[in-house]
């Protein structure tokens, strides 16, 4: 049967059989439409990229206040469009490794404090100038400067010196960091002529597409850049277009009506409906973002680890995943890392809902009375419901939770990172080191669980400087177990990125780093025949 399907799907790709006929015959062979569609997609990929045409995406996350200045990138549309026109030093592969782009080689000194990047020669900017090591150095300088207000400032803090020499850029770090290449893959670090110091928002870099239309909050168009250095690897369509569609219903209907070929952010509750639309494929991939319940480890009553453990054991993670994310996610294990990260520590025992053990731990903690949990609609979609479900499962363990619903306005300034027990969200970082440094180092501004353990900090710094991956993985494992058993964060689940594509899109391959193939969907997919 599968031979026959393969045969048929190749026929479709060559245009000898219409898609509708194919689906009909596939159905006759007893194959579901979803599976048949995915067969078609893989046949199209085997056939190789198709050149030409216009690829259109409808996306949430664009405002009329957006700018093309990469330092200001925050929401999804600038992020995705940036991957079309911008060129980076390197990027993340699907397996968590690094692929070099403008940086031909990235090498460290033995102590991992001095990094040397060899810059590819003969790369041309959209304005005709040749990309030099000076441009790269200027770009890094601009994002290191406080005044640029760059979104990458946090990760650039450790850089103490940048200099260009010949075709190399040499970066000095204050402390050893084996993950330096991952920092350079940050989506803000688009290489611009003279680092964008002259005109940060002009939208000129060396990516596969030139910016031709820039209407913030409305629409962006990129046109194939004839002198793109990367050859055929990317930039298959002649034109790529992003239409900003912030309304979820409008986004879905634009996809259904064929006005756009791909969309981001399909809401979990409508995925099962969208799946049934002919020709539409749901592309969901496990991401690194999660929705934590944060406890302050230094504030009573949460300074008592028995109480923290009771609250962890009293959470029914499967139920929350099922009812809040409709299953589009994976259960958490009370440390903020999942298998989407490189060097993920496998095999740590999964924490499960255990009301008896929770009740015992609660009794041992000696706490009595109700515990206030703060939540709000803005914490994450469904955060109020999640708090209520949690209240119910805690009640089964004899723990009384009092839910305080806070107004959305001011939640991030008055509640999160201020109140001792609240709901929040975290987007992922590209490495474990980056995440731990942002959220769990004693001195981190965003240490939203007040987790202050000198031994944990020491492990983190050791891992950061360790160039041997096995040794680092072992340290990360110890850190994860420590957090799981003593930390202040309860992780109910990790969420998924849910995109949808029509059968006009060829070459879509899921990427765990971010939505729409880490933003490269428009540049790497093609218009299928």
């Amino acid at each position: 049967m599968s031979d026959e399907l393969d045969f048929l799907s190749r026929h479709v790709v060559r245009g000898r059989l219409s898609r509708r006929d194919f689906l009909g015959r596939a159905a006759a062979l007893g194959v579901s439409a979803t599976f048949a569609n995915s067969l078609l997609a893989s046949a199209a990929r085997a056939q190789g990229p198709v050149k030409g045409g216009t690829l259109k995406a409808g996306m949430q996350g664009g405002e009329s206040t957006n700018s093309l200045d990469p330092a200001s990138f925050l929401s999804q549309v600038p992020f995705n469009f940036g991957k079309c026109w911008g060129e980076y030093l390197c990027r993340l592969n699907r397996d968590g490794s690094i692929q070099n782009l403008i940086a031909e080689e990235i090498g460290a000194s033995d102590d991992a404090t001095t990094w040397t990047m060899k810059i590819k020669q003969g790369v041309e900017f959209h304005n005709g100038k040749t990309l030099t090591a000076e441009d790269v150095a200027a770009t890094l300088e601009r994002h290191t400067n406080e005044e640029s207000k760059s979104g990458a400032l946090g990760i650039m803090k450790g850089i103490t010196g940048i200099k260009a020499s010949g075709n190399e850029v040499i970066v000095e770090l204050a402390e050893a960091d084996a993950d330096f290449p991952y920092l350079m893959a940050d989506y803000h670090l688009i290489i611009q002529p003279n680092g964008g110091k002259d005109n940060p928002a002009e939208g000129v870099s060396a990516g596969p597409y030139k910016v031709v239309v820039n209407e913030p909050g409305v629409r962006y168009v990129g046109e194939k850049f004839a002198n793109y250095w990367g050859g055929d690897a990317m930039g298959h369509a002649d034109t790529v277009e992003i239409v900003v569609i912030n309304d979820a219903t409008a986004r879905t209907s634009a996809l259904q009506g064929g006005q756009v070929h791909m969309i981001n952010r399909v809401e979990p509750k409508i995925v099962s409906l969208v799946e049934r639309v002919a020709g539409v494929t749901i592309q969901n991939v496990a991401g690194r973002g999660f929705y934590p319940f944060n406890m302050f480890c230094d504030t009573p009553p949460f300074d008592n680890n028995d109480l923290r453990m009771a609250l962890k054991l009293a959470m029914n993670r499967e139920e929350l995943l099922d009812k809040i994310l409709f299953g589009y996610g994976s259960v958490g294990n009370d440390f903020p890392i999942n298998e989407a990260y490189p060097l993920f520590p496998e095999g740590i025992e999964q924490r499960t809902f255990d009301p008896e053990a929770a009740a015992a731990a609660y009794k041992k903690s000696g706490h009595s009375g109700s515990i206030v949990l703060r939540t709000s609609d803005v914490a994450f979609p469904g955060a109020v419901d999640a708090a209520q479900l949690y209240q119910q499962s805690c009640a089964q363990a004899g723990i009384t939770i009092e839910i305080k619903r806070e107004p959305g306005d001011g939640y991030w300034s008055e509640v999160w990172n201020k109140q001792p027990f609240s709901l929040s969200y975290w987007g992922g970082r590209s490495t474990q080191n980056q995440f731990y440094s942002t959220a769990l180092l004693s001195t981190a501004d965003w240490n939203d669980t007040r987790w202050k353990r000198p031994e944990f900090d020491k492990m983190l710094l050791t891992a950061r400087a360790e160039l041997d991956e096995d040794k680092r993985k072992a340290i990360y494992r110890d850190m994860a177990i420590m957090l799981r058993d003593e930390g202040g964060v309860i992780v109910p689940f990790f969420n998924e990125f849910i995109d949808a594509t029509t059968d006009k899109v060829g070459g879509y391959e899921k990427h765990p780093a971010a939505e729409l193939m880490d933003g490269y969907a428009l540049a790497e997919c093609w218009v299928a025949a």
Partner: protein, 314 residues
Amino acid sequence: MKLIAQRIALGVLLLLAVSVLIFAGTEILPGDVAASILGQAATPQALANLREELGLNDPAIVRYFNWLGGVLTGDLGTALTTRQDIATTLMPRLWNTLFLAFWTAAVAVPLAVILGLLAVRYRSGPIDKAISGFALASTSLPEFFIGYLLILFFAVKLQWFPSISTVYDGMPFWQKIQAIVLPGTALLLVVLAHMMRMTRAAILNVMQSAYIETAELKGLSQFDIIRKHAFPNAIAPIVNVVMLNLAFLVVGVVVVEVIFVYPGMGQYLVDHVAKRDVPVVQAVGLIFAAVYISLNIVADIAAILANPRLRHPR
């Protein structure tokens, strides 16, 4: 003529008063502009520099006149968020809004008046009831619901029109028209009932007058009576309600803009309010006020011209 000149002068004065209100309103908002630009990364030195740069240290009255002077010379200032010139980013949005409003009105106004006349001609009969019933039902449904229904049937199922109405410079005229059919229809259904019912009520009011009875006794046909005698005397209230609805079409369509992804002024304003981009909010506020005031002046002038007693004051 004197009356008309008076109305226009009053309108200009009113606009000035509104500009004071807008300026004062944004002035008493908590926090200052410099702090909202810099956000969490604000250091005292950076704040001081930026205040100096933006001229925030001058007294409010000086800043008001600087701003007003800029506005009068067509300089609306620079957006804080994008650092782009406000006039150049705002103008295309304004044109889009006016484009949609114009074509919606071009269909809605004649349609509403004709339906109103028909309803009067066949008053209390099935036609009148059907027209009123339909118009009231469509106006009672929230516009986002109408919008989604239109998308479901005409964009997704029948695929006659696009569901997203993103228009842009250089788009062929017919494509633009095709793109705004669905949002235009949604807006039409929202504003139709108000104008239609007002037309009907105003003409019916006139129909009670003695001279209509005379016309009937003269043996004129119902249509002639309505067209020649009743309608001209009912124009003033009709024009008023038409102008109110036109104003709504310009300033109140943010929901429809979001649903159909139409790049008009509403979404532009909302985005900038969310980011506290004060100069943009001021500029948009002023334009909205100007639209409202000028449409009302037009309504007044039309009423004056339609009324012989006002046209030839003794």
